[in-house]
Amino acid sequence: MADEKISTPLLDELEKGPWPSFVREIKSAAQTSPMARDLLGQLELSYEEKVGHWKHGGIVGVRGYGGGVIGRYSDVPEKFPNVAHFHTLRVNQPAGWFYTSQALRTLCDIWERHGSGLTNMHGSTGDIIFLGTKTDELEPTFSELTQAGFDLGGSGSDMRTPSACVGPARCEWACYDTLKLCYDITMEYQDELHRPAFPYKFKIKCAGCPNDCVASIARADLSIIGIWKDDIQQDDEAVAEYVANGLDIQADVVERCPTRCMQWDGKKLTINNRDCVRCMHCINVMPKALRPGKERGAVLLLGAKAPIIQGAILSSVLIPFVPEEELFDTVKELLSRVWEFWDEYGMNRERVGELIQRVGMANFLDAIGLDPVPEMVSHPRDNPYVFYKVDEEQSEQ
């Protein structure tokens, strides 16, 4: 039975064509894993029937942790017994997704011994995903992972695995050390990562500049985005070099500036830095000539989420600038206040962004003890239904 070759005419179609094929990957794993072989069979069935065949389970995990394992069972276990249980482990990735070949091979060896041999490098949140194993294999996999220096990431109502862009490791635009902050936050909150105690998930992403290569503003409850306060560093010789090499600086830089804060007189580029919104466009176009300023740090934004439940939200500004050296302490202080309030008032499955919408940003700011600043809004309210706090005004008089 195990040696029986599964016929997969539909999936075979997806081995054709130039883009690397996931079917080829499953077949590769299937050479050594009966689980991967049955996954192939069940997936072919899904392609035939146009419907998925997985059920979600909720009890499985490793001892002591409430996150890191996603329970999954086949709804056709009689046909595909090797994927009757097919749970996912989320393994906390190293910050910035750097590896040595030795570390990769260690992960491969562990997963080949205990699971399907299939992975995602990486999952949407950033973890290494070990795709599919039986309940009995969870604890042995975890044991070998920790012996090798790896640990599980988050799932459920906990702090999810933080992630970071490549940052100062290979990017001249990193306005703070994203890898270090990501690592420090991950280590500081191991308990929050592994033992779910929140109303729902909480994601943190560290992006080094406003290009936001980790999509933190769209995907993280707390988005930490690098920014600078002083003037763009400008190298006029390098500007001239770009122009000499054919850059249409007027059309492609000056006129693309969202605040029209720069001028080109044919020889010299002049930037009115007071009007600059630090969008990165001119820097992206001329990386050799323009660089972020020297007074660097990050803006802290709060509240992003995907549509479930009350609609998608982008993060919005909470603290416009935190100097790099104060970043970790400020994030810790902010998280303790935000989590305290969310813990107290958040409903089941209510993300922080949704809670803020429900109670109102002003009330939320009161609760976490933060003063309102105009950077928090795109414009002041335009509706006159203001909840005045009359008592406060009277006591002032």
């Binding site: 419907v51 001892r63 996912t88 590896y99 920790t146 490549v166 490791a169 290979r170 549509p307 479930i308």
Partner: protein, 360 residues
């Protein structure tokens, strides 16, 4: 003490990233000056020290077997002293000190089937979800859609000839685990019928007040069926979000006849030029047609081609549409505008055109 070596470890966290940084990166950490684009998929970062680091980026299918990862590790050994990294969009990056090795590495990657590209004004790799490979609520298969679409857009990955960056994403249901909602083109699996209610199972596995509370539109009510405490769904109020199914497995939404795919355009995450924004609905429904989803592939290729032809340099999809307007977008792409394109959820009114700004 004999048990010391096998003591159960918890809460050790991930390995420290410094262990995995190549020496050239450690030497120049935080001291990079600028970078240059050498070819599609190839970058050179120059440090204050004058040292140069060459990056070769290759697309992967995200779903990788251990056998393939070992081959990646072999390439890292052969070319990069054993160091390699992955990007936030499922690309693999090889970091070299010696530029004379780049061409050989590219040949080896080619032989393994990994395309080199995805930088600058190319389509980068696709961020996507699990689909039928591993998800319980998938309305479609994410990996199959990605493979089909990227086969057709392969040249857009290996060449940097678009007006600007183009970010594609696939999510297999409205949960949008991949947070596709801020992509230039988002392909999104959709359910279009209310959940079935398994009345026999529901009382055993679900908590009724939680199920009732889970519905964002209040469409679920407690009800007794054949003496069993269960629920009913007011079908007119259901928008097929699947939230109830996530808290209650006895309310599956999957429906092979009516599930399918929608397409959304014009979102972005970066702050460059314009602010980050959500993608907007372009096509409300295309059929699930595995294994190759020809209707979806055709629609996506058409949108990319029209964008490539009409957008100006540095205009992302959404910025291009800002300039030409939505009526012209629908006209140029030949996509019909329907009642489904007009929002009717919260704050829908904000999306109406409350002006006489019109183009003819």
């Amino acid at each position: 003490m004999a048990t010391e070596a096998t003591k159960r470890l918890t809460d050790i966290g991930p390995p420290h990233y410094e262990k995995f940084l190549p020496p050239i990166i450690k030497r120049n950490y935080g001291k990079w000056l600028y970078h240059e684009r050498l070819a599609p998929g190839v970058m050179c970062h120059v440090a204050e020290s004058g040292e140069k680091l060459y990056t070769v980026r290759a697309g992967s299918p995200r779903l990788l077997s251990v056998h393939t990862i070992r081959k990646i590790a072999d390439l890292a050994d052969k070319y990069c002293n054993g160091y390699v990294r992955f990007t936030s969009r499922n690309n693999i990056e090889f970091l070299l000190e010696d530029p004379s090795k780049i061409e050989d590495l590219k040949k080896d990657l080619q032989a393994l089937g990994f395309p080199v590209g995805g930088t600058n004004n190319a389509i980068s790799n696709v961020v996507h979800t699990q689909g039928w490979v591993h998800c319980h609520s998938a309305a479609t298969d994410a990996s199959g859609l990605v493979k089909s679409v990227m086969d057709a857009l392969y040249e857009r990955f290996t060449h940097e000839d678009l007006p600007a960056k183009l970010r594609l994403a696939v999510a297999c249901c409205l949960n949008m685990c991949g947070a596709v909602h801020c992509s230039d083109i988002a392909i999104l699996g959709v359910h279009r019928r209310p959940p079935r209610i398994l009345h026999d199972l529901l009382p055993k596995v679900c908590e009724i007040p939680t199920v009732v509370a889970s519905c964002p539109t209040g469409a679920i009510r407690a009800r007794t069926v054949d003496g069993k405490q269960t629920v009913e769904v007011i079908e007119q109020q259901c928008m097929y979000c699947g939230n109830c199914y996530t808290v209650c497995p006895a309310m599956p939404l999957n429906n092979p006849q009516t599930d399918g795919v929608s397409i959304w355009v014009g979102g972005k995450v970066s702050n460059a030029r314009s602010k980050p924004r959500f993608s907007k609905l372009a096509i409300p429904y295309l059929p699930n047609n595995p294994p190759r989803w020809p209707e979806v592939v055709e629609a996506v290729v058409k949108i990319v081609d029209v964008y490539a032809k009409h957008a100006r340099k540095y205009e992302r999809m959404g910025e291009w549409i800002d300039r030409i307007g939505w009526p012209r977008f629908f006209e140029l792409t030949g996509i019909p505008f329907t009642r489904y394109h007009i929002d009717d959820f919260k704050h829908a009114g904000l999306t109406y055109n409350r002006s006489t700004h019109l183009k003819f």
